[in-house]
Protein backbone atom coordinates (compact mmCIF):
# COMPACT_ATOMS: atom_id res chain seq x y z
CA UNK A 1 0.00 0.00 0.00
CA UNK A 2 1.55 3.25 -1.02
CA UNK A 3 1.13 6.57 0.75
CA UNK A 4 -1.77 7.89 -1.31
CA UNK A 5 -3.81 4.77 -0.58
CA UNK A 6 -4.67 5.68 3.01
CA UNK A 7 -8.44 5.55 3.35
CA UNK A 8 -9.02 8.65 5.44
CA UNK A 9 -8.79 11.91 3.48
CA UNK A 10 -7.50 13.66 6.62
CA UNK A 11 -4.63 11.17 6.88
CA UNK A 12 -3.93 11.62 3.16
CA UNK A 13 -3.93 15.42 3.55
CA UNK A 14 -1.51 15.30 6.50
CA UNK A 15 0.70 12.62 5.00
CA UNK A 16 1.17 14.63 1.81
CA UNK A 17 2.62 17.49 3.89
CA UNK A 18 4.19 15.54 6.78
CA UNK A 19 4.84 11.94 5.75
CA UNK A 20 4.68 10.42 9.25
CA UNK A 21 1.98 7.94 8.27
CA UNK A 22 3.88 6.54 5.31
CA UNK A 23 7.00 6.43 7.48
CA UNK A 24 5.21 4.40 10.16
CA UNK A 25 3.61 2.26 7.48
CA UNK A 26 7.02 1.59 6.00
CA UNK A 27 8.73 0.71 9.31
CA UNK A 28 5.99 -1.20 11.14
CA UNK A 29 3.68 -2.53 8.45
CA UNK A 30 5.25 -3.31 5.07
CA UNK A 31 8.74 -3.84 6.51
CA UNK A 32 9.85 -7.19 5.03
CA UNK A 33 10.96 -9.52 7.83
CA UNK A 34 12.59 -12.96 7.54
CA UNK A 35 9.82 -15.52 7.82
CA UNK A 36 11.74 -17.90 10.08
CA UNK A 37 12.18 -15.73 13.21
CA UNK A 38 11.69 -17.67 16.45
CA UNK A 39 10.60 -16.42 19.87
CA UNK A 40 14.13 -15.19 20.67
CA UNK A 41 13.26 -12.28 18.34
CA UNK A 42 10.56 -11.06 20.73
CA UNK A 43 12.90 -9.34 23.16
CA UNK A 44 13.51 -6.20 21.12
CA UNK A 45 9.88 -5.17 21.25
CA UNK A 46 9.72 -6.20 24.92
CA UNK A 47 12.71 -3.96 25.68
CA UNK A 48 10.92 -1.08 23.93
CA UNK A 49 7.79 -1.75 25.99
CA UNK A 50 9.87 -1.84 29.20
CA UNK A 51 11.38 1.54 28.37
CA UNK A 52 7.90 2.97 27.78
CA UNK A 53 6.62 1.59 31.12
CA UNK A 54 9.67 3.03 32.92
CA UNK A 55 9.18 6.48 31.39
CA UNK A 56 5.44 6.63 32.12
CA UNK A 57 5.67 5.36 35.73
CA UNK A 58 8.81 7.44 36.32
CA UNK A 59 7.21 10.71 35.22
CA UNK A 60 4.30 10.00 37.57
CA UNK A 61 6.58 9.08 40.49
CA UNK A 62 8.57 12.30 40.04
CA UNK A 63 5.38 14.22 40.81
CA UNK A 64 5.43 12.95 44.41
CA UNK A 65 9.16 12.51 44.97
CA UNK A 66 11.38 15.06 46.77
CA UNK A 67 15.08 15.08 45.87
CA UNK A 68 16.50 16.19 49.21
CA UNK A 69 18.48 14.15 51.74
CA UNK A 70 16.03 15.05 54.52
CA UNK A 71 12.87 14.25 52.56
CA UNK A 72 13.73 11.70 49.87
CA UNK A 73 13.25 8.56 52.00
CA UNK A 74 10.04 9.87 53.55
CA UNK A 75 8.64 11.01 50.21
CA UNK A 76 9.13 7.47 48.84
CA UNK A 77 7.40 6.02 51.92
CA UNK A 78 4.59 8.53 51.37
CA UNK A 79 4.26 7.30 47.78
CA UNK A 80 4.01 3.76 49.19
CA UNK A 81 1.41 4.57 51.87
CA UNK A 82 -0.55 7.71 51.05
CA UNK A 83 -0.42 8.58 47.35
CA UNK A 84 -3.31 7.00 45.44
CA UNK A 85 -2.03 3.81 43.74
CA UNK A 86 1.48 5.02 44.63
CA UNK A 87 2.54 1.61 45.95
CA UNK A 88 1.56 -0.01 42.68
CA UNK A 89 3.18 2.60 40.47
CA UNK A 90 6.44 2.38 42.43
CA UNK A 91 6.43 -1.44 42.46
CA UNK A 92 5.81 -1.42 38.69
CA UNK A 93 8.75 0.99 38.24
CA UNK A 94 11.03 -1.09 40.49
CA UNK A 95 10.17 -4.45 38.98
CA UNK A 96 10.09 -3.29 35.38
CA UNK A 97 13.67 -2.09 35.90
CA UNK A 98 14.64 -5.69 36.66
CA UNK A 99 12.51 -7.08 33.85
CA UNK A 100 14.07 -4.55 31.45
CA UNK A 101 17.48 -6.01 32.25
CA UNK A 102 16.23 -9.61 31.96
CA UNK A 103 14.81 -8.81 28.54
CA UNK A 104 17.93 -6.96 27.39
CA UNK A 105 20.25 -9.72 28.60
CA UNK A 106 18.19 -12.29 26.66
CA UNK A 107 18.22 -9.95 23.64
CA UNK A 108 22.04 -9.78 23.89
CA UNK A 109 22.48 -13.54 24.30
CA UNK A 110 20.23 -13.98 21.25
CA UNK A 111 22.59 -11.70 19.30
CA UNK A 112 25.61 -13.63 20.56
CA UNK A 113 24.14 -17.04 19.64
CA UNK A 114 22.93 -16.15 16.16
CA UNK A 115 25.87 -13.88 15.28
CA UNK A 116 23.65 -10.84 14.85
CA UNK A 117 26.64 -8.55 15.48
CA UNK A 118 28.43 -9.57 12.27
CA UNK A 119 28.72 -7.56 9.08
CA UNK A 120 26.79 -5.61 8.02
CA UNK A 121 25.18 -5.16 11.46
CA UNK A 122 28.26 -4.04 13.50
CA UNK A 123 26.93 -0.55 14.19
CA UNK A 124 23.53 -1.95 15.10
CA UNK A 125 25.25 -4.11 17.72
CA UNK A 126 27.45 -1.26 18.98
CA UNK A 127 24.44 1.04 19.37
CA UNK A 128 22.89 -1.75 21.42
CA UNK A 129 25.95 -1.78 23.71
CA UNK A 130 25.60 2.01 24.06
CA UNK A 131 21.96 1.53 25.11
CA UNK A 132 23.09 -1.12 27.62
CA UNK A 133 25.66 1.29 29.12
CA UNK A 134 23.10 4.10 29.34
CA UNK A 135 20.64 1.70 30.98
CA UNK A 136 23.20 0.77 33.61
CA UNK A 137 23.93 4.42 34.39
CA UNK A 138 20.20 5.23 34.58
CA UNK A 139 19.41 2.23 36.79
CA UNK A 140 22.31 3.05 39.10
CA UNK A 141 21.19 6.65 39.58
CA UNK A 142 17.57 5.63 40.01
CA UNK A 143 18.53 3.21 42.78
CA UNK A 144 20.12 6.11 44.70
CA UNK A 145 16.90 8.19 44.77
CA UNK A 146 15.02 6.40 47.63
CA UNK A 147 18.03 7.32 49.82
CA UNK A 148 18.14 4.05 51.73
CA UNK A 149 21.28 2.39 53.04
CA UNK A 150 21.92 0.48 49.80
CA UNK A 151 21.22 3.64 47.78
CA UNK A 152 23.81 5.58 49.73
CA UNK A 153 26.52 2.94 49.89
CA UNK A 154 25.95 1.78 46.33
CA UNK A 155 26.43 5.39 45.24
CA UNK A 156 29.54 5.71 47.39
CA UNK A 157 31.19 2.54 46.09
CA UNK A 158 30.35 3.11 42.42
CA UNK A 159 31.41 6.79 42.36
CA UNK A 160 34.60 5.77 44.16
CA UNK A 161 35.45 3.55 41.18
CA UNK A 162 36.55 6.72 39.44
CA UNK A 163 39.06 7.49 42.21
CA UNK A 164 41.13 4.65 40.77
CA UNK A 165 42.08 6.85 37.79
CA UNK A 166 45.68 8.00 38.34
CA UNK A 167 46.29 11.68 39.26
CA UNK A 168 42.84 13.13 38.45
CA UNK A 169 40.72 10.41 40.13
CA UNK A 170 40.07 12.27 43.41
CA UNK A 171 39.12 15.50 41.60
CA UNK A 172 36.70 13.60 39.37
CA UNK A 173 35.02 12.00 42.39
CA UNK A 174 34.67 15.40 44.11
CA UNK A 175 33.18 16.75 40.87
CA UNK A 176 30.69 13.86 40.72
CA UNK A 177 29.70 14.32 44.37
CA UNK A 178 29.62 18.12 44.46
CA UNK A 179 31.16 17.82 47.91
CA UNK A 180 33.39 15.60 50.00
CA UNK A 181 30.98 12.69 50.25
CA UNK A 182 27.75 11.48 48.66
CA UNK A 183 25.32 14.13 49.90
CA UNK A 184 22.46 16.43 48.93
CA UNK A 185 24.26 17.81 45.87
CA UNK A 186 24.82 14.24 44.65
CA UNK A 187 21.18 13.26 45.16
CA UNK A 188 19.94 16.31 43.25
CA UNK A 189 22.13 15.81 40.21
CA UNK A 190 21.36 12.08 40.13
CA UNK A 191 17.64 12.89 40.08
CA UNK A 192 18.15 15.38 37.26
CA UNK A 193 20.16 12.88 35.21
CA UNK A 194 17.92 9.93 36.04
CA UNK A 195 15.03 11.89 34.55
CA UNK A 196 17.03 12.89 31.47
CA UNK A 197 18.72 9.65 30.48
CA UNK A 198 15.69 7.54 29.52
CA UNK A 199 15.00 10.08 26.78
CA UNK A 200 18.58 9.80 25.56
CA UNK A 201 18.08 6.03 25.54
CA UNK A 202 14.91 6.52 23.49
CA UNK A 203 16.96 8.57 21.00
CA UNK A 204 19.59 5.85 20.68
CA UNK A 205 16.80 3.28 20.30
CA UNK A 206 15.62 5.23 17.24
CA UNK A 207 19.14 5.01 15.79
CA UNK A 208 19.21 1.29 16.71
CA UNK A 209 16.00 0.75 14.73
CA UNK A 210 17.22 2.83 11.77
CA UNK A 211 20.36 0.68 11.66
CA UNK A 212 18.23 -2.48 12.01
CA UNK A 213 15.99 -1.55 9.11
CA UNK A 214 18.94 -0.85 6.84
CA UNK A 215 19.57 -4.59 6.35
CA UNK A 216 16.63 -6.07 8.25
CA UNK A 217 16.60 -8.56 11.09
CA UNK A 218 19.07 -11.39 11.24
CA UNK A 219 17.37 -14.79 11.55
CA UNK A 220 17.97 -18.20 13.19
CA UNK A 221 19.76 -19.52 10.08
CA UNK A 222 21.92 -16.42 9.87
CA UNK A 223 21.93 -16.16 6.06
CA UNK A 224 20.73 -13.12 4.14
CA UNK A 225 17.22 -12.99 2.76
CA UNK A 226 17.35 -13.64 -0.97
CA UNK A 227 14.04 -12.11 -2.02
CA UNK A 228 10.32 -11.85 -1.32
CA UNK A 229 9.97 -15.64 -0.94
CA UNK A 230 12.12 -15.42 2.24
CA UNK A 231 10.21 -12.61 3.94
CA UNK A 232 6.77 -11.75 5.25
CA UNK A 233 5.45 -8.31 6.11
CA UNK A 234 5.95 -7.15 9.67
CA UNK A 235 2.25 -6.50 10.08
CA UNK A 236 0.24 -8.56 10.88
CA UNK A 237 2.61 -11.52 11.17
CA UNK A 238 5.18 -10.16 13.65
CA UNK A 239 2.97 -7.57 15.31
CA UNK A 240 0.73 -10.42 16.45
CA UNK A 241 3.71 -12.49 17.53
CA UNK A 242 5.07 -9.50 19.50
CA UNK A 243 1.67 -8.96 21.09
CA UNK A 244 1.65 -12.57 22.25
CA UNK A 245 5.13 -12.07 23.76
CA UNK A 246 3.94 -8.87 25.43
CA UNK A 247 1.00 -10.72 26.99
CA UNK A 248 3.33 -13.35 28.51
CA UNK A 249 5.74 -10.61 29.65
CA UNK A 250 2.97 -8.60 31.33
CA UNK A 251 1.67 -11.74 33.04
CA UNK A 252 5.10 -12.38 34.58
CA UNK A 253 5.59 -8.70 35.44
CA UNK A 254 2.19 -8.54 37.16
CA UNK A 255 3.05 -11.68 39.13
CA UNK A 256 6.22 -10.01 40.39
CA UNK A 257 4.53 -6.66 41.10
CA UNK A 258 1.56 -8.08 42.98
CA UNK A 259 3.02 -11.15 44.68
CA UNK A 260 6.81 -10.73 45.00
CA UNK A 261 7.42 -6.98 44.68
CA UNK A 262 10.63 -6.98 46.74
CA UNK A 263 12.06 -10.32 45.63
CA UNK A 264 14.67 -8.65 43.40
CA UNK A 265 15.40 -5.81 45.82
CA UNK A 266 17.38 -5.64 49.03
CA UNK A 267 15.78 -5.17 52.50
CA UNK A 268 18.59 -2.83 53.64
CA UNK A 269 17.25 -0.18 51.29
CA UNK A 270 14.25 0.24 53.57
CA UNK A 271 16.66 1.62 56.21
CA UNK A 272 17.30 5.38 55.77
CA UNK A 273 20.79 6.28 54.53
CA UNK A 274 23.43 6.64 57.24
CA UNK A 275 26.77 8.13 56.21
CA UNK A 276 28.44 6.85 59.38
CA UNK A 277 27.71 3.14 58.98
CA UNK A 278 28.17 0.79 56.05
CA UNK A 279 25.82 -2.23 55.94
CA UNK A 280 27.60 -5.48 56.78
CA UNK A 281 27.19 -6.97 53.31
CA UNK A 282 26.67 -4.55 50.46
CA UNK A 283 25.66 -5.87 47.06
CA UNK A 284 24.52 -4.01 43.98
CA UNK A 285 21.24 -4.81 42.22
CA UNK A 286 21.26 -8.30 40.69
CA UNK A 287 21.76 -7.05 37.12
CA UNK A 288 25.18 -5.60 38.04
CA UNK A 289 26.44 -8.69 39.87
CA UNK A 290 28.50 -10.27 37.04
CA UNK A 291 30.43 -7.02 36.61
CA UNK A 292 30.72 -6.55 40.36
CA UNK A 293 32.24 -10.05 40.59
CA UNK A 294 34.85 -9.06 37.99
CA UNK A 295 35.63 -5.87 39.94
CA UNK A 296 36.23 -7.82 43.15
CA UNK A 297 38.14 -10.65 41.52
CA UNK A 298 41.17 -8.41 40.99
CA UNK A 299 43.27 -7.70 44.11
CA UNK A 300 44.29 -4.30 42.72
CA UNK A 301 41.95 -1.27 42.76
CA UNK A 302 42.78 0.23 39.36
CA UNK A 303 43.08 -3.24 37.81
CA UNK A 304 39.64 -4.22 39.09
CA UNK A 305 38.03 -1.07 37.74
CA UNK A 306 39.75 -1.44 34.36
CA UNK A 307 38.69 -5.09 33.99
CA UNK A 308 35.11 -4.25 34.96
CA UNK A 309 34.82 -1.55 32.31
CA UNK A 310 36.82 -3.77 29.95
CA UNK A 311 34.15 -6.45 30.29
CA UNK A 312 31.72 -4.09 28.55
CA UNK A 313 34.28 -2.48 26.25
CA UNK A 314 35.10 -5.90 24.79
CA UNK A 315 31.50 -6.11 23.54
CA UNK A 316 32.14 -3.08 21.33
CA UNK A 317 34.90 -4.83 19.42
CA UNK A 318 33.13 -8.21 19.32
CA UNK A 319 32.32 -7.93 15.58
CA UNK A 320 36.07 -7.85 14.90
CA UNK A 321 36.99 -10.61 17.36
CA UNK A 322 34.68 -13.21 15.85
CA UNK A 323 35.75 -13.30 12.18
CA UNK A 324 33.89 -16.45 11.20
CA UNK A 325 31.77 -15.73 8.10
CA UNK A 326 29.02 -18.02 9.42
CA UNK A 327 26.64 -16.13 11.68
CA UNK A 328 24.32 -18.65 13.32
CA UNK A 329 25.57 -21.07 16.00
CA UNK A 330 23.38 -23.72 14.32
CA UNK A 331 26.13 -24.24 11.77
CA UNK A 332 29.05 -23.81 14.18
CA UNK A 333 29.30 -26.98 16.31
CA UNK A 334 32.30 -25.82 18.38
CA UNK A 335 31.11 -22.25 18.80
CA UNK A 336 27.81 -23.57 20.11
CA UNK A 337 29.59 -25.46 22.92
CA UNK A 338 31.64 -22.40 23.84
CA UNK A 339 28.56 -20.17 23.70
CA UNK A 340 26.85 -22.29 26.35
CA UNK A 341 30.03 -22.39 28.45
CA UNK A 342 30.09 -18.60 28.25
CA UNK A 343 26.43 -18.45 29.23
CA UNK A 344 26.97 -20.68 32.29
CA UNK A 345 30.10 -18.69 33.16
CA UNK A 346 28.14 -15.42 33.03
CA UNK A 347 25.48 -16.86 35.36
CA UNK A 348 28.28 -18.07 37.66
CA UNK A 349 29.78 -14.57 37.74
CA UNK A 350 26.37 -13.22 38.72
CA UNK A 351 26.14 -15.76 41.55
CA UNK A 352 29.67 -15.02 42.77
CA UNK A 353 29.08 -11.25 42.69
CA UNK A 354 26.41 -11.72 45.34
CA UNK A 355 28.65 -13.75 47.66
CA UNK A 356 31.10 -12.30 50.20
CA UNK A 357 34.59 -11.65 48.81
CA UNK A 358 36.39 -14.36 50.74
CA UNK A 359 37.75 -17.91 50.52
CA UNK A 360 36.64 -20.10 47.64
CA UNK A 361 34.41 -17.36 46.17
CA UNK A 362 37.45 -15.19 45.38
CA UNK A 363 39.21 -18.04 43.59
CA UNK A 364 36.10 -18.98 41.62
CA UNK A 365 35.52 -15.30 40.69
CA UNK A 366 39.06 -15.16 39.29
CA UNK A 367 38.57 -18.30 37.22
CA UNK A 368 35.22 -17.05 35.89
CA UNK A 369 36.66 -13.59 35.11
CA UNK A 370 39.57 -15.16 33.25
CA UNK A 371 37.14 -17.33 31.26
CA UNK A 372 34.99 -14.30 30.37
CA UNK A 373 37.93 -12.55 28.75
CA UNK A 374 39.41 -15.73 27.28
CA UNK A 375 36.11 -16.35 25.50
CA UNK A 376 36.22 -13.02 23.70
CA UNK A 377 39.94 -12.47 23.26
CA UNK A 378 41.21 -15.99 22.54
CA UNK A 379 38.44 -18.52 21.90
CA UNK A 380 36.39 -16.49 19.40
CA UNK A 381 39.39 -15.43 17.26
CA UNK A 382 40.78 -18.98 17.29
CA UNK A 383 37.42 -20.56 16.44
CA UNK A 384 37.04 -18.26 13.46
CA UNK A 385 40.34 -19.64 12.16
CA UNK A 386 40.09 -23.35 12.93
CA UNK A 387 36.43 -24.32 13.20
CA UNK A 388 34.88 -26.43 10.44
CA UNK A 389 31.36 -25.14 9.97
CA UNK A 390 28.41 -27.11 8.64
CA UNK A 391 27.15 -26.35 5.11
CA UNK A 392 24.67 -23.47 4.99
CA UNK A 393 21.28 -23.82 3.28
CA UNK A 394 20.97 -21.90 0.03
CA UNK A 395 18.09 -19.82 1.29
CA UNK A 396 15.75 -19.41 4.23
CA UNK A 397 13.03 -21.23 2.29
CA UNK A 398 15.15 -24.18 1.19
CA UNK A 399 15.17 -26.25 4.43
CA UNK A 400 11.36 -26.04 4.51
CA UNK A 401 10.28 -26.08 0.89
CA UNK A 402 13.07 -28.02 -0.77
CA UNK A 403 15.64 -26.81 -3.26
CA UNK A 404 13.16 -24.81 -5.32
CA UNK A 405 12.83 -22.40 -2.43
CA UNK A 406 9.66 -20.93 -3.80
CA UNK A 407 6.86 -20.07 -1.45
CA UNK A 408 3.33 -20.95 -2.40
Amino acid sequence: MSANQFKSPVVRWIDHRLPVFSMLHHTAHDYPTPKNLNYMWNFGSLAGLSLAIMIVTGIVLAMSYTAHVDYAFDSVERIMRDVNHGWMIRYIHMNTASFFFIVVYLHMFRGLYYGSYKAPRELLWMLGVVIFLLMMATAFMGYVLPWGQMSFWGATVITNLFSAIPYVGESIVTLLWGGFSVDNATLNRFFSLHYLMPFIIAGVVVLHIVALHRFGSNNPIGIDTKGPQDTISFHPYYTIKDVFGIAVFLLLLATAVFFFPNAMGHPDNYIPANAMQTPAHIVPEWYFLPFYAILRAVPDKLGGVLLMFGAIAVLFILPWLDRSPVRSARFRPLFRIFFWLFFVNAIALGYLGGKPAEGIYVILSRVATAWYFLHFLAILPLLSMFETTKPLPKSISEPVLGSSGRAA
Binding site: W153, T156, V157, T159, N160, L161, S163, A164, T174, L175, L176, W177, G178, G179, F180, S181, V182, D183, A185, R189, A275, M276, Q277, T278, A280, H281, I282, R296, V298, P299, D300, K301, L302, G304, A357, E358
Partner: protein
Protein backbone atom coordinates in the same frame (compact mmCIF):
# COMPACT_ATOMS: atom_id res chain seq x y z
CA UNK B 1 38.63 21.73 3.48
CA UNK B 2 38.02 24.65 1.19
CA UNK B 3 40.69 25.20 -1.39
CA UNK B 4 41.76 28.67 -2.37
CA UNK B 5 41.94 29.83 -5.94
CA UNK B 6 45.71 30.07 -5.84
CA UNK B 7 46.45 26.34 -5.49
CA UNK B 8 44.26 24.74 -8.15
CA UNK B 9 47.21 23.69 -10.26
CA UNK B 10 48.68 20.40 -8.98
CA UNK B 11 51.76 20.90 -11.18
CA UNK B 12 52.96 23.53 -8.73
CA UNK B 13 54.20 20.79 -6.38
CA UNK B 14 53.10 18.03 -3.98
CA UNK B 15 52.48 20.36 -1.05
CA UNK B 16 49.55 22.67 -1.64
CA UNK B 17 50.06 26.16 -0.29
CA UNK B 18 47.36 27.03 2.25
CA UNK B 19 45.51 30.06 0.99
CA UNK B 20 43.90 32.94 2.80
CA UNK B 21 40.50 31.24 2.66
CA UNK B 22 41.90 28.15 4.44
CA UNK B 23 43.21 30.42 7.15
CA UNK B 24 39.78 32.00 7.62
CA UNK B 25 38.08 28.58 7.77
CA UNK B 26 40.55 27.22 10.35
CA UNK B 27 40.36 30.41 12.40
CA UNK B 28 36.54 30.26 12.38
CA UNK B 29 36.54 26.66 13.64
CA UNK B 30 39.10 27.54 16.30
CA UNK B 31 37.08 30.51 17.56
CA UNK B 32 33.88 28.46 17.60
CA UNK B 33 35.70 25.70 19.52
CA UNK B 34 37.04 28.18 22.08
CA UNK B 35 33.59 29.68 22.46
CA UNK B 36 32.02 26.26 23.02
CA UNK B 37 34.68 25.39 25.61
CA UNK B 38 34.17 28.71 27.41
CA UNK B 39 30.43 28.07 27.61
CA UNK B 40 30.92 24.43 28.67
CA UNK B 41 33.25 25.19 31.57
CA UNK B 42 30.72 26.87 33.93
CA UNK B 43 28.26 24.10 33.15
CA UNK B 44 30.83 21.51 34.25
CA UNK B 45 32.34 23.47 37.13
CA UNK B 46 28.93 24.00 38.75
CA UNK B 47 29.17 20.29 39.63
CA UNK B 48 32.11 21.03 41.96
CA UNK B 49 31.51 21.74 45.68
CA UNK B 50 29.59 24.99 46.24
CA UNK B 51 30.86 27.78 48.50
CA UNK B 52 28.63 26.77 51.43
CA UNK B 53 29.83 23.17 51.15
CA UNK B 54 33.44 24.34 51.23
CA UNK B 55 32.67 26.59 54.23
CA UNK B 56 31.86 23.60 56.45
CA UNK B 57 35.54 22.89 56.67
CA UNK B 58 36.42 22.33 60.32
CA UNK B 59 35.09 20.99 63.61
CA UNK B 60 36.36 20.96 67.21
CA UNK B 61 36.24 17.75 69.23
CA UNK B 62 36.62 17.21 72.98
CA UNK B 63 38.85 14.18 73.40
CA UNK B 64 39.27 14.24 77.19
CA UNK B 65 36.44 11.71 77.69
CA UNK B 66 37.95 9.01 75.48
CA UNK B 67 39.32 6.23 77.71
CA UNK B 68 42.51 4.39 76.77
CA UNK B 69 41.69 1.77 74.18
CA UNK B 70 38.42 3.47 73.26
CA UNK B 71 37.49 5.04 69.93
CA UNK B 72 34.96 7.66 68.91
CA UNK B 73 33.56 8.57 65.50
CA UNK B 74 32.77 12.17 64.59
CA UNK B 75 31.37 13.60 61.36
CA UNK B 76 33.55 15.92 59.29
CA UNK B 77 32.64 17.02 55.76
CA UNK B 78 29.93 14.37 55.67
CA UNK B 79 32.44 11.63 56.40
CA UNK B 80 33.20 9.72 59.58
CA UNK B 81 36.47 10.58 61.34
CA UNK B 82 37.92 8.00 63.73
CA UNK B 83 39.72 9.14 66.89
CA UNK B 84 41.30 6.27 68.80
CA UNK B 85 42.98 6.67 72.16
CA UNK B 86 45.58 4.00 71.61
CA UNK B 87 47.00 1.66 74.24
CA UNK B 88 50.76 1.51 74.77
CA UNK B 89 50.74 -1.94 73.18
CA UNK B 90 49.01 -0.64 70.03
CA UNK B 91 51.54 2.19 69.70
CA UNK B 92 54.43 -0.21 70.25
CA UNK B 93 53.14 -2.57 67.58
CA UNK B 94 52.62 0.29 65.10
CA UNK B 95 56.23 1.38 65.69
CA UNK B 96 57.65 -2.12 65.52
CA UNK B 97 56.30 -2.75 62.02
CA UNK B 98 58.93 -3.23 59.34
CA UNK B 99 58.36 -0.62 56.60
CA UNK B 100 59.20 -3.21 53.95
CA UNK B 101 56.00 -5.05 54.91
CA UNK B 102 53.84 -2.06 54.00
CA UNK B 103 52.07 -1.39 50.71
CA UNK B 104 52.06 2.35 51.43
CA UNK B 105 55.16 2.77 53.65
CA UNK B 106 54.75 5.40 56.37
CA UNK B 107 56.16 5.49 59.90
CA UNK B 108 53.65 5.75 62.73
CA UNK B 109 55.12 9.03 64.02
CA UNK B 110 54.28 10.64 60.67
CA UNK B 111 50.64 9.62 61.09
CA UNK B 112 49.95 10.74 64.68
CA UNK B 113 50.92 14.09 66.11
CA UNK B 114 50.54 12.71 69.62
CA UNK B 115 51.14 8.95 69.53
CA UNK B 116 48.31 8.19 71.99
CA UNK B 117 45.67 9.82 69.73
CA UNK B 118 45.26 8.47 66.23
CA UNK B 119 43.00 10.62 64.03
CA UNK B 120 41.87 9.10 60.71
CA UNK B 121 39.26 9.65 58.03
CA UNK B 122 37.10 6.56 58.51
CA UNK B 123 36.70 5.86 54.81
CA UNK B 124 38.28 2.82 53.19
CA UNK B 125 40.66 3.96 50.46
CA UNK B 126 39.38 1.20 48.18
CA UNK B 127 35.79 2.18 47.39
CA UNK B 128 34.71 4.37 50.29
CA UNK B 129 32.99 2.07 52.80
CA UNK B 130 33.31 2.73 56.55
CA UNK B 131 35.66 0.10 58.07
CA UNK B 132 34.64 -1.81 61.21
CA UNK B 133 36.65 -1.74 64.46
CA UNK B 134 35.39 1.37 66.24
CA UNK B 135 32.93 -0.28 68.60
CA UNK B 136 33.79 -3.02 71.09
CA UNK B 137 33.03 -6.40 69.65
CA UNK B 138 33.46 -5.35 66.01
CA UNK B 139 35.89 -7.21 63.80
CA UNK B 140 39.24 -5.43 63.71
CA UNK B 141 40.91 -7.52 61.01
CA UNK B 142 44.14 -9.51 61.03
CA UNK B 143 46.23 -6.55 62.24
CA UNK B 144 44.00 -5.40 65.09
CA UNK B 145 43.19 -2.02 63.55
CA UNK B 146 40.18 -1.83 61.24
CA UNK B 147 38.55 -4.18 58.77
CA UNK B 148 36.47 -3.09 55.78
CA UNK B 149 33.60 -5.57 55.27
CA UNK B 150 32.81 -4.50 51.72
CA UNK B 151 35.82 -5.95 49.95
CA UNK B 152 38.03 -7.21 52.78
CA UNK B 153 40.76 -4.62 53.45
CA UNK B 154 42.72 -4.97 56.72
CA UNK B 155 44.29 -1.93 58.42
CA UNK B 156 46.78 -2.02 61.33
CA UNK B 157 46.89 -0.07 64.61
CA UNK B 158 48.24 2.92 62.71
CA UNK B 159 45.48 2.74 60.06
CA UNK B 160 47.93 1.48 57.44
CA UNK B 161 46.77 -0.91 54.72
CA UNK B 162 48.15 -4.42 55.28
CA UNK B 163 45.96 -6.79 53.29
CA UNK B 164 43.14 -6.56 50.75
CA UNK B 165 42.37 -4.39 47.71
CA UNK B 166 42.75 -0.88 49.20
CA UNK B 167 45.74 0.92 47.63
CA UNK B 168 46.68 3.37 50.40
CA UNK B 169 46.60 3.89 54.17
CA UNK B 170 43.55 5.43 55.84
CA UNK B 171 43.85 9.16 55.27
CA UNK B 172 44.99 11.39 58.14
CA UNK B 173 42.93 14.61 58.02
CA UNK B 174 44.58 17.97 58.75
CA UNK B 175 44.19 18.62 62.49
CA UNK B 176 45.84 20.36 65.42
CA UNK B 177 45.49 20.28 69.21
CA UNK B 178 43.98 23.51 70.52
CA UNK B 179 44.67 22.27 74.06
CA UNK B 180 45.28 18.91 75.73
CA UNK B 181 41.60 18.08 75.50
CA UNK B 182 40.40 19.73 72.28
CA UNK B 183 41.42 18.86 68.75
CA UNK B 184 40.39 20.86 65.69
CA UNK B 185 39.90 18.82 62.51
CA UNK B 186 40.05 20.59 59.15
Amino acid sequence: MAKSDTNKNPAKGDVQEPGRRDFIVVATYAMAGLGAAAVAWPLIDQLNPAADTLALANIEVDISKIAVGQSITVKWRGKPVFIRHRTADEIARANATNLDDLRDPQVDTARAEKPEYLVLVGVCTHLGCVPLGQKTGEVRGDYDGWFCPCHGSHYDTSGRIRKGPAPTNLEVPPYNFLSDSVVRIG
